[in-house]
Symmetry: D4
Subunit: 179 residues, 8 copies
């Protein structure tokens, strides 16, 4: 895996989704995974969208992350035209808190799966992409898997520290409090 | 409008949607509107789906009716590649009572509308197609609009008859009942 | 079609719906479709509402766009008294994010269809009206359909530009980023 | 109040609602309240529907019970054209378990109230009509209120008896059970 | 009906509900209906709550309006201990937009009806109370019913004026706009 | 704790809830906890319901399990009149799959908690009551806690056995299957 | 019960839950119940989470209060590894108003109950813990139960005062207002 | 990739989930991917569950598929203890149509992703696992990716055939039908 060739494609229907989707890029940066990011709209540029999906694998991408909101068709349509795993991020719009986005992405018919993460969960999409790449059997993949394990150990560290801070903050509390 | 050339295309993602979608065809038959029916899957044959939408207008279609269930992408994707009005029918699947189908179809982003009818409402999709055709300004279109008015008068007739039947059935009811 | 005679009627239950519904007017302006706009309340002026629907076709309207919120009865009641296609816009109110408006509009009984667009989707209602008019067979209708195709090409242009902008903005990003 | 003149009107959009709505009639029979029952469809016979509402009070009706399903407009439209209290019964249809019916009936805009009961709750609609009539100040109204109190005492009786039966049934149960 | 004796009781579980419930009082003021207002909590003072309901009719009340939020038990519990009609107002709390309040109030079991209005719909609760009182057969009741008819005529007036204002505001609009 | 004196009261609004609620009794039987079962309706016998709650503690009950459906007020009303922990079981009714029951029980206002279990989860209500009793500090309570630990160990045993059975059943499966 | 040894453990997945969960601590302070508070994350430190649950009883805890949001697994996982009663607090996150948190906590499978309180209802979690402790049979437990009864009496006092204040505030209101 | 060593682990909380989960196994069989299947319950055997997740990667698994229903914690808990990608299948239970299962699985907090498929969508879970394996860079992985492309081509074939069958079936239909 040459680190300068993107192996993950992050796409979204509009640049207005970028504030949500940027967290996927950040996660991949943290784990040293090269990626590309682009606007690919299922509804506004359907032919280019299909071309993007069809060429993804031959261009070297190994995972696609697609964010969309409302009647969110982008992840599912890309999954229809690539054999690669496609991760869908339900982007919440002004109404319905992203429930429409979630159902439009996750309820795919048998035959064409989309790996759906939580509403607005672009960071997890990036982490999931890293897990998928780390499931490979090359040394480079194993190294990424090891970085993921280190990342998970860090999560535990941070959680421990938060607990310690909470206990410390509470130490001078009201009589009878012992934590 | 030559009655032997289809002006409405009824499409669905799978032939398993036909029991739901057939009611659209029946409504068009009743109103004398020629149509075609086909399986066009957004997820299983995306390129042909786009071709279907792109050629629809030049083939003489004036309205497309598309039924789909779950993460229902067919109506919206067709609307993305045709200037014709697209009517979406949310087909209910085994779970969620069609709420996922409804939201996946109706919550389209600005720019690409889908005329959505009720969950499982294929009959209304046929009637809406007829109304759309009848909104034209030719004599043939006006004739269809007149048939629609006659159809609506029939609805009132039937409702009246049902009321009369209910009142009759109740006539020998318990003391104190006067209807 | 004389361009000074309205062919679309935009109506709403209260002038408080205008900030939502104005987007339908804007879309029609962009596409050169003449329209009228009015307050027609199903609940506060039911007789005038019915009269509006009954006379719409003879007054020259070819499509009605009706916006309403909560127990939103206006689109369905108008559809009951006109053979024209009626487009319903679910206006979101203070609570429930427009889900009540959506269900009250889209779940019409068999016989009386309403072409429902997304919650707050007045712009799409205007675009759908233009598609419906463009489905006619006169030269004027064909010209509108051609304008709709140009509008759709513009959507693709804008989406392309957004993608380019996103890629450009990202070009000086962290090491390893290649887009 | 002459017992042979209906004071409650039970109406519904279709005779297919009668199996649900009959329970309202039964409750009124039990409490000796004269009523009429009819099919009055907001969508299929809107003009007659408005006439029904407008004439209700002058015909001697004091309460209207209206059942409807899906995009349920009948109760609200009747409330718009009568000063009488209108009770709405959300009739559940094939999908969505009556949630659409409930929201379409209960979420009325300020100015036009509908007294909504539970999904499929026609029996309670009948009982509510009797409470409304019993809120009057004539001797006849007071007598009905007294009958309602007796009805409520009966409810308590039946509940007591059910408790006794449950305790009795359990008496020979497993060791350690003492009820 | 002596105007100084309350005939409607407006109650709520907490004074924090008053900003919502005040609209019921305002509506009754407008229609000249005397009422009382109080805090009666099903959960915090259950015995007094039951006493309130039990004595309501003998104290001269003819209708009870009860507002509550979340697991909203007040309207249903009052309905259990009075033969009077009880109107329930679902008060929206911080989460769930009042859907919990609505279901907790409207889904009453057979035998004990609550006349439910819209989420936050206290104004309609007041208007419904006036309709219920106006359904009586005394001259005073008929006079209230007449005032309700005048109120409804005013609603239509206001709606007409809004339509005129909208049309006027649009008169200098873009070319092609004719309203 | 004399094993013949009930320490848990299982109550429900109607004997029609017994098929659901019986599982609570069975769980308590399995763990040797004495209980009583009765019909106590918040809506049909509110005064007796309050008396039941008020006397529960002095009669020796330590936990109350209350099941109810729809606008489910029984658990919350009992919690209002007893200092004991009250466990609420949302009983699903014909429509809405118990969502109304759940929200009516769990969304209690601050001050009056109900320990809510899953929709139809009466078995877990019984187990929760046993955990609550086992949280006491007497020898008898500790013995019950020990029985709960044994019960939990049994759950693990059964799950292990199911895994073994599944692996065994799959052993002669298609080529390539290795479990 | 030595008042300096915690008998309740308040845990949460992240210190960002503390603003919500603090109300549980406050309620326990008011009732004189000693507790500890800590960050214990099911997803970020699963092994420590299990150890926390496994040792809780032997460390002297008698009740665990666990708050979590979204796919909220902490309460259920703790309940799986302790025989103590576990109270779950659904913490609302940015989207869905806590509905996901609620369902993830309350819908536990048979065998492993979680005592769920309302969305964001940490105060009630504290009060429920006190009720559970007060259900014990020692003198100390009885004293806590008595304090709970006093707390409930205070709730009634406050509600009464609010009613008086509301009536006072309304006393100079519009003509015809009598409360 | 030795075809006799499982690279996918299919686990579920109970053997009652097998009828749903079997479809994942079938999909993997069709694509020649070796797997194992087992019962691993988060709630009934939490320690073994964690051990399963912790050892998965070192045992040679590259993807885990976990199905669970209701408060479905298994997929998320496994994701917390493995660096491998975990696919979650929301198993629908008796109530709520799997909405609780879906939200409990998909709404994972940042840091711990679960790749969620549709409600009951075990077949897609198997296909997604194959896509993930095929995203690897070895020859064996590329071969699997090629098989996935063939599988997708088959989907299109079958859809085409269904369309042909529908058109054929309709060929002798009513006059005016042209498909």
């Amino acid at each position: 895996m040459a680190t300068t060739t993107p192996v993950v494609g992050i796409v979204m229907g509009s640049d207005s989704d970028w504030p949500t989707m940027e967290a996927a890029a950040t996660a991949l940066d943290e784990l040293g995974v090269p990626y590309e990011a682009d606007v690919v709209s299922a509804h506004r540029m359907p032919v280019e969208m299909i071309e993007y999906g069809r060429s993804a694998s031959s261009r070297g991408l190994r995972v696609i992350i697609a964010g969309a909101g409302g009647a969110a068709h982008l992840p599912g349509m890309l999954a229809a035209v690539t054999p690669l795993p496609v991760i869908g991020v339900p982007v919440p719009l002004r109404y319905l808190d992203g429930m429409d986005s979630l159902l439009s992405i996750v309820q795919m018919p048998a035959g064409v799966p989309v790996a759906t993460v939580s509403i607005g969960g672009a960071r997890n999409a990036g982490l999931l992409a890293a897990r998928i790449l780390g499931a490979g059997t090359t040394d480079e993949d194993a190294a990424l898997r090891t970085r993921m394990e280190a990342f998970q150990a860090d999560l535990a560290e941070v959680a421990h520290a938060k607990g310690a801070a909470l206990r410390a903050r509470r130490a001078g509390g009201p009589t009878g409090f012992t934590a």
